[in-house]
Amino acid sequence: MSESKQRILIWWAIITLIIYGLSLIFLLHMLPPPSATWSAARIAAFYTEHNASIKLGAAICSWTAGFLVPYGVVLGIQMYRHEKGKGMPVWSILTVCGGALSSIFLVFPPIFFGAAAFTPGRAPEITAAVHEIGVLSLVTTDEWFIFLWIPVVVICLTPNAVVHSPFPRWFGYFSAWATLMFEAGAIAFMTRTGPFAWNGLLAMWLPFAVFGLWMIVMSTMILKALRLQSEVADDTLTLVA
């Protein structure tokens, strides 16, 4: 049975996610990011003041940013139970790809923040530019999570009779809402103040809060489903009747 292996992957993902989040908040000081109206000098001063912790944060995030890779794999396997016997498991494959690709945009911002802190004495404009690339790649790239979530929506909403599935219908609507809530992130390119700035209510706070909420709900349901699935003696019982 692969349930115990899947459980390991989920916990691996959850633990590294928590470490990544704590590092982003307390070491990198980028959740929330500082105001987009700061001058280059102010930004350079920030990187000088927090130099050691930012570099440490970048290192820790480098180790822990890949949590969506194992998570995407487990999602794909759970989805495959719905797609078994119906040709190529398109949605399962897409979600695995989504997990892998979303990780890119989780690992890059800490790299940029670390690079900005790497040479404290350089011209402030250069540090500011690297800082901007870092924050923008953190806030505006929410779109990529779509490839993780749309398959979830489709699997949830396709009528099926798979037992012990972590994909009930209501979760399809919830995931659809989560996907919609992520859309405002890219607007951060267009303004430095207000709800759509990179530290604004709709471009940053809402997507991050929704992401956290979705992860909590999905993880709870997957772990519950894995427990029920491992109690079933025979794998063939999980096929659609």
Binding site: V162, L201, A241
Partner: protein, 226 residues
């Protein structure tokens, strides 16, 4: 007569199961669909419970956006009032009528899909809705083009930032709604939709009505309120 009345009033599922057992795909045991199965006299919530998470969640975020817009407008009344003059009210008003008509058409389609004798009307009505949605998108692009060619961009001032973002987010919902309408068209063409299909159709229609409702707030808020 009693059964016919029951069907028109509230309960598509029970009427299918009692009157026309052959035209319905039976639900599987353990089917995880949660479509409501109302009894006589029980209120029928359209769609499924889950869709309302999506709709209310989205409405809550837009409501927050509208409050933020109103708050910012209160601080800069002059600039907002002046900038508002540049908007094309005729286009906005036409779009309002277009969306309202499309919602009406879709509501008729939702009624039609529930009744055996009217079901063949459902697909043409959904196609009509799609046509009107495309009109909305077309008119919106005309509106944007005219503003942009006059030099008004999201960076011009706060009003135009809110204008482009609010209408842009709404347009995004319209485009997603178009995708939903295409899915509903597929359902409308089925000769024998199950209860889950119908619940999904209703839910999808509710999403479109929400998109319409959002525009009914956006249009006066951005175009008319001074």
């Amino acid at each position: 007569m009693r059964e016919w009345r029951r069907r028109t009033a509230r309960s598509p599922v029970s009427s299918f199961q009692t009157r026309t057992p052959r035209s319905v795909v039976p639900e599987h045991e353990g089917d995880n669909s949660h479509s409501t199965r109302p009894q006589d006299g029980q209120p029928h919530v359209p769609g499924e419970p889950g869709i309302w998470i999506l709709l209310f969640g989205d409405l809550a975020v837009f409501a927050t956006l509208f409050s933020i817009y109103s708050f910012h407008r209160a601080g800069e009344k002059e600039i907002f009032a002046q900038s508002q003059q540049h908007l094309n009210r005729a286009l906005g008003g036409t779009n309002t009528i277009v969306l309202l008509t499309s919602s009406l058409m879709l509501a008729f389609a939702a009624r039609a899909i529930r009744r055996n004798e009217l079901r063949k009307l459902a697909a043409p009505l959904v196609i009509g809705t799609i046509g009107l949605a495309l009109c909305f998108v077309g008119l919106k692009f005309v509106e944007y083009h005219s503003l942009l060619s006059k030099g008004f961009t999201p960076a011009t001032n706060q009003f135009f930032m809110y204008y482009f973002v609010l209408t842009g987010l709404h347009l995004g919902h319209v485009l997603i709604g178009l995708g939903v309408l295409l899915a509903l068209l597929r359902l409308a063409k089925k000769p024998a939709p199950s209860a889950t299909h119908i619940a999904f159709f209703e839910g999808g229609a509710c999403f479109w009505h929400m998109v319409d409702l959002l525009w009914l707030v956006i249009f006066p808020l951005l175009f008319l309120v001074r």
